[in-house]
Amino acid sequence: MNILKRSFVDSWEHLAKLWRFRSLLIALVGRHLKSRYRGSILGFIWTLLNPLLQITIYTIVFRYYMRFGEIPNYTVFLLCGLLPWQWSVAALAEGASAIVGNSHFVTKALFPAQLLPASVLLTNLTNFLLSLPILLLFLFFTIGASWQILFLPVLIFLQLLFLYGLVLLTASLNVSFRDTQHLVGHMTMFLFFLTPIIYSAQTVPERFRGLLKINPFTIFISSYHALLYDSAVVPLSSWAAMSALSLLFLLIGLLVFERLREGFAESL
């Protein structure tokens, strides 16, 4: 009982400190963003160029070479799933080394360690948000958008909580098990193909749908497709499921991170 109580107090403290150190968090995010493009000629434009180049290749390969014919406006479809997916992958990959790669902060400076994974996540969120205009432009010039798009912030927020839980998990586990960062790379590669990003969930044969459903990313990406591409209503049950998933993963992430936190300074 005591352990349970302490865990919840720790988790609460964890989140409260994120708020208390928000100006440092913002500064860290700013630094990440700046350092990402510092020294490059195109600078910030890369944020827009990266997804554009990527969908160009995907469109060529999947649309024209492999003829995924059933999906109209395939490029828009791709963008809807790919942008939030890119955010997740980048956050998880960078998040795994957030603590290990910044050991000098953890062992020498005095600020809450969760700022490191949190800043990684928020940096990539910013990137995602900055690349959204491309998606919206594509939408407006092809299929048009409906008022469903107003739910987008809610969806992004839920995904943020979900990803924060995952990033906390990878960041803290990677301190004692350096295998984590390698595993994360492979896991995200598997998940990329197991999540309906380059194909639509409807095209998957019935007997494999179960595999699709146990992947927590499916419901998030499908909801992006629904809101933006299909202009459809996301059913209440999906919102409930996503909320539950987000909170569950956030909780697991918080508990594991807080449990392992003591060991950070010693293991690094």
Binding site: R31, V106, A109, L110, F177, E266
Partner: protein, 456 residues
């Protein structure tokens, strides 16, 4: 709720140990496999091998006090600091720290090389818990103190290490600390800047800030601190009045060194006796005592001696052995074996010899070298005009009165040879000894001197 705070730093029965990293023992490592096999045990079981870093430390630092922490390397000083600053959590005990801590542990920790000095100061200030507004207010002052007006908008990677340290120090002391924790960093930059740093620290002290100083520089501890805590093997060995504790600590270090030197000499002796019947003309014998190295760096720090006090001088022996030196002893006036002398002491060298063949041309000699090879003194019975008649076996005693060497580590050579220099038995670096002086004079010899002022 009014809470009276008597102490800015309060530690109550703090203990901290670390999991021992045993590379030879595979089982002591947590692997991903063992984690998945038994996640509960990996995360919650703490029954692994431990190394105690600090144990049962209770200390209270009142507001405005200056406390020094001294002790040998590995005595737990840094762990203690990291516990106070909250980087480590104690295994047991309670820590209360009231007020903002500025830790000068690692200056400029968290500076990013690609960003300009200005950007780094802003970020660093946020890390120290300042608000953006407070940083803006102080930015110019921080830059001015660091003397970096010109370079502040260049990326940090273009800075010299001195500039880097200056910026780090300037930032740390401008964060309005209530508690200033200093770990051996009052020596950044050139002499002028060091003076400036010390003035700044003195000003903070005068302004009633609490000061925690971890140092090997005992003079600094003496000058700054109201109380000194001596840590040894993670426990408080002594505490209280700085003069008394520091003297006790110095005495402790001397005793330790004395022991080490005699240990070393015993090893040499052992080698000697083993080689009595050996016809080899020379033997090499290399010291490899890691413990002694770390010990000596403590010692060097404490006494301001630079470099490893005891060199890796090799014991060597050569000669034709018609006359043989069987043992050499270094004694004080009381006839006690010694390896540590003070300036002005009497030193007695005993050479125990054995005659293997009858020879009639023989002289005994001694030489003292400093451990860096400098020949300090050498003589023999031929130079001294001493005639010595030996019969079979015996002992020769040489007394050095008012032995006036300055602080340092020295080696002794002894030999018996013909008047033309042909060696019967030569022992090089047969004994090691150290000399301690009260005054930090420079050089090798200590003449007795007086100072007088007069009119021209």
């Amino acid at each position: 709720m009014v809470k009276k705070v008597h102490y800015t730093i309060e530690l109550i029965e703090i203990s901290k140990s670390f999991k021992r990293l045993n590379f030879a023992n595979k089982r002591s490592y947590t692997t991903l496999k063992s984690f998945f096999l038994n996640p509960w045990k990996t995360l919650f079981d703490d029954r692994s091998v431990k190394r105690v870093a600090v144990q049962n430390i209770t200390m209270r630092v009142p507001r405005g006090a200056s406390v020094g922490v001294i002790g040998r390397n590995g005595s737990g000083k840094s762990t203690l600091l990291k516990l106070i600053t909250g980087i480590y959590r104690p295994d047991s005990g309670r820590i209360n720290v009231h007020g903002r801590v500025a830790a000068l542990i690692e200056l400029g920790a968290g500076f990013h090389p690609d960003f300009t000095g200005r950007e780094n100061v802003i970020l660093g200030g946020l890390m120290h818990g300042l608000s953006r507004l407070q940083i803006e207010e102080r930015l110019e002052e921080i830059i001015a103190f660091a003397e970096l007006e010109e370079a502040i908008d260049e990326p940090i990677r273009c800075y010299s290490s001195g500039m880097f340290m200056r910026l780090g120090f300037s930032l740390a002391v401008h964060t309005d600390p209530d508690i200033l924790i200093i770990d051996e960093v009052l020596s950044v930059g050139d002499e002028a800047f060091v003076r400036k740093c010390k003035e700044r620290v003195a000003a903070l002290k005068a302004a009633g800030k609490t000061l925690l100083l971890v140092t090997h520089d005992l003079e600094a501890a003496l000058r700054w601190c109201d109380e000194v805590i001596w840590l040894d093997h993670g426990e408080i060995k002594d505490r209280g009045d700085p003069r008394r504790v520091i003297d006790a600590y110095r005495g402790f270090l001397e005793k330790g060194e004395e022991q080490q030197l005699s240990e070393k000499n015993r090893q040499t002796d052992h080698y000697n006796t083993n080689l009595l019947d050996d016809q080899e003309k020379s033997v090499a014998f290399v010291e490899q005592n890691e413990l002694s190295d770390s010990f000596n760096s403590d010692f060097a720090n404490a006494f301001g001696v630079s470099g490893g006090a005891i060199s890796l001088a090799e014991f060597k022996r050569w000669g034709s052995r018609e006359l043989e030196i069987r043992a050499v002893e270094l004694l004080d006036q009381a006839g006690q074996q010694r390896a540590l002398f003070h300036g002005g002491d009497v030193m007695i060298i005993k050479i125990i010899y054995k005659q293997n063949e009858i020879v009639d041309d023989y002289h005994f000699g001694i030489a003292i070298r400093r451990n860096d090879g400098l020949m300090v003194f050498g003589t023999n019975t031929l130079i001294e005009g001493q005639t010595i008649i030996i019969k079979n076996d015996g002992v020769i005693t040489i007394e050095l009165k008012d032995f006036s060497l300055l602080e340092g580590s020295y080696l002794l050579d002894v030999a018996v040879h013909r008047s033309d220099g042909y060696p019967y038995d030569y022992h090089s670096a047969v004994l090691h000894f150290a000399v301690r002086s009260e005054k930090p004079r420079i050089g090798v010899c200590a003449p007795i001197l007086t100072w007088e002022v007069g009119q021209l």
